[in-house]
């Protein structure tokens, strides 16, 4: 896995070491210079070996986050090579790195992490400028490989990514999904796959904007909407009604209400209920006996995408948040009978991801609100139910490309794909907003 880069560059080290480099150590500490970031490139980043008990694990987790970000290229060094490259640290604590050597191995940035009593001290070196670009101390909870400990490290990765690229990463997030009608929550690097306590057979999980609650629905005779507080694992439930199914709950962007689909003998329509309860559900769509479900809000909360078959085959519609001015969004070919469903509005509000039937199988599409040009992102196996990462660059969805349904993460810029889950039958993913720390 780790290449011995040092062997390849060893002669250079000697050469460089013999030459006086005026650029070295000329940048004063604490000055944010930033690295030049070209959106099309993936700058090389080296994480230096970290001394201390969990140092190797911390380094591996952060390197993997950089890799999964698809915005950075982690340059993996063996511990020995890393130690040599790290060079000497002056008594005052000022890092002295041999920047030209790092430049030769393709690194634009070098991350130097030191364990402290409160957490981690992180310094980002700008190799091109030959100095420290950013410094911060991150609190990290004590504990052996707990979810909180891992999440704190993902938070470090996201901030370092922001230092380098100007865009915060999405490593410190989770994905909720369904397996065997149970809601599971998994870290974005595939760790910590954990079921939530259920009040019944579940579908369609979704997150509140603070990432502290998950809503889902149960189906069958006891169909309910459940809202789980992740801090206590306690669930509140509502929507119990004879002869009805409650489906596809989402939180409004202010986090105060739930919009969901109620399916009865009179059809399926969207309703809104305050999270605090008490009020009678307020009708959002008037489908007149048709099926209207799977709501997804524009981040500003003023508009709503949903799925409706009011004109025949299911299509994605956009309406004002109160249900008025509903207009078909995805009907891009006149007379096209392929259904389109499961809309998810991107975090920047500019596009909507959905699935569309192509040759009998669902595939993942995105469509821009401005030009309404559909873009097909998948073609292998069947691919369903996309959900955006808060970085607006990655989508998670369920795919049968390896036989059984698994969750996969796609970088919509580079088309790089990775498998997130290992257990078959994983589906209906919902990517969390950024997790609030502390």
């Amino acid at each position: 896995m780790r290449r011995s880069l040092l062997r390849q560059v060893a002669p250079i080290v000697l050469v460089v070491g013999a030459v006086q480099l005026p650029a070295q150590d000329t940048v004063s500490r604490g000055v944010r210079i930033g690295l030049r970031y070209d959106p099309g490139s993936k700058p090389g980043v080296i994480v230096l070996p970290i001394s201390g008990g969990q140092g190797d694990s911390i380094r591996t987790i952060i390197e993997r986050d950089f890799d999964y970000s698809d915005r950075l290229t982690p340059i993996l060094l063996s511990a020995e090579d890393g130690s040599v490259l790290a060079g000497t640290t002056a008594p005052g604590g000022t890092p002295e790195l041999n920047y030209p050597v790092f430049a030769k191995v393709g690194a634009a940035g070098v991350v130097q992490i030191t364990m402290t009593t409160r957490g981690l001290h992180v310094a980002l070196h700008d190799v091109g400028q030959g100095g420290v670009a950013n410094v911060r101390e991150f609190p990290v909870p004590r504990g052996d490989y707990t979810r909180e400990w891992r999440q704190a490290l993902h938070g470090v990765s996201d901030v370092v990514q922001e230092w380098i690229t100007g865009e915060k990463g999405a490593a410190q997030t989770r994905v909720a999904y369904i397996r065997s009608n149970v809601v599971y929550v998994i870290d974005t690097d595939g760790h910590g796959d954990t079921p939530l306590p259920m009040i019944g057979p579940a579908l369609s999980p979704s997150w509140n904007p603070q990432a502290t609650m998950i809503a889902y629905n149960t189906f069958g005779p006891e169909s309910r909407i459940a809202v789980v507080d992740l801090r206590t694992n306690r669930a509140r439930e509502f929507g119990a009604q004879r002869n009805a199914s409650n489906m596809t709950p989402v939180f409004t962007p202010d986090g105060k209400s739930i919009v969901w689909a109620l399916s009865t003998e009179a059809g399926t329509d969207l309703f809104l209920s305050p999270l605090e309860g008490g009020a009678f559900p307020q009708r959002v769509t008037h489908g007149r006996g048709t099926r209207n479900l799977s709501p997804s809000f524009h981040p500003d909360g003023r508009r709503l995408a949903f799925q409706s078959d009011r004109m025949g085959t299911p299509q994605v519609y956009i309406a004002d948040a109160d249900g008025t001015n509903a207009d078909v969004f995805t009907n891009f070919d006149f007379g096209d009978q392929n259904d389109r469903a499961s809309p998810d509005w991107s975090p920047d509000g500019r596009q909507i991801a959905f699935h569309s039937r192509i040759d009998g199988r669902f595939q993942i599409f995105t469509m821009n609100l401005r030009d309404r040009q559909p873009r097909q992102l998948t073609s292998e196996g069947e691919n369903e139910d996309p959900s955006w990462a808060p970085d607006g660059r990655h989508l998670v969805f369920a795919s049968t490309r390896t036989g059984v349904k698994q969750l996969w993460v796609l970088d919509v810029e580079s088309a790089r794909l990775r498998q997130l889950t290992q257990a078959g039958g994983s589906r209906l993913p919902a990517w969390s907003p950024r997790l609030t720390t502390r």
Binding site: R242, N243, E265, G267, Q307, S342, D385
Partner: protein, 218 residues
């Protein structure tokens, strides 16, 4: 083994004699007298008295056994008759239950009732009308091809349309509950047309009042 086979005819003979004696109201001890007289001339009076007493005891026991056996036979026969009648009723009830529980199928992405589905519902109606304590849960199901969430709505609608058909023909609406399982409970898991057709269905489950259904009077 041989001992048992020898004893049985004797017991049966005694039992039948005892039963006849008991019916005739004569003293049971007198019946075997001719047999006793023919046995031996050398018997002492005491021996004869003892033998007669023993035989009387045997005979009385035999009569009681015979009466019990007859009673048992009567009971067994009536139980058998009752069981047969019950079995017939149960068979009929099971057939009626099977008719009420018969699954109906649907076309892809549709909730309309096909002709065969209407015929299956028509067969349920008189049974439901004749058994007013019966309540039914109708569960709508879908095949795997549509969107997961859409299929839950489709299942709700399939159950609702089946219910409406029954209610329009006289079955009280509050006796029929509807629910949906979408594509979550397939009967068949191959990705093939025949399998999908099986999964697009409404199931009918008797939830109360159904241990013994009676046939509708025609």
């Amino acid at each position: 083994m041989t001992k048992t086979t020898r004893v049985i005819p004797l017991v049966l003979a005694l039992a039948s004699m005892g039963a006849v004696g008991a019916c005739g109201g004569k003293p049971a001890a007198q019946a075997p007298a001719p047999a006793a007289a023919a046995t031996s001339v050398r018997d002492t009076a005491q021996e004869r008295r003892d033998r007669e007493a023993a035989m009387a005891r045997e005979s009385a026991a035999g009569a009681a056994t015979a009466a019990a056996a007859a009673r048992q036979r009567f009971v067994d026969d009536s139980i058998a008759d009752a069981r047969a009648a019950e079995e017939a009723m149960r068979r009929e009830s099971d057939m009626l239950r099977a008719t009420v529980a018969a699954v109906i199928g649907f076309e892809f992405n549709k909730a309309d009732l096909r002709d065969d589905a209407k015929a299956a519902l028509d067969a349920k109606i008189p049974i439901l009308l004749a058994n007013t304590s019966v309540t039914v849960r109708v569960s709508g199901h879908a095949d795997e091809r549509g969107s997961t969430e859409y299929n839950l709505a489709l299942g709700t609608e399939r159950a609702a349309i089946a219910k409406r058909y029954l209610v329009e023909r006289g079955v009280a609406a509050n006796r029929i509950e509807t629910t949906s399982f979408g594509e979550e409970r397939p009967l068949c898991t191959d990705s093939a047309d025949a399998c999908w057709a099986q999964n697009r269905r409404a199931e009918f489950e008797i939830t109360a009042g159904g241990p013994m259904l009676t046939r509708p009077r025609s």
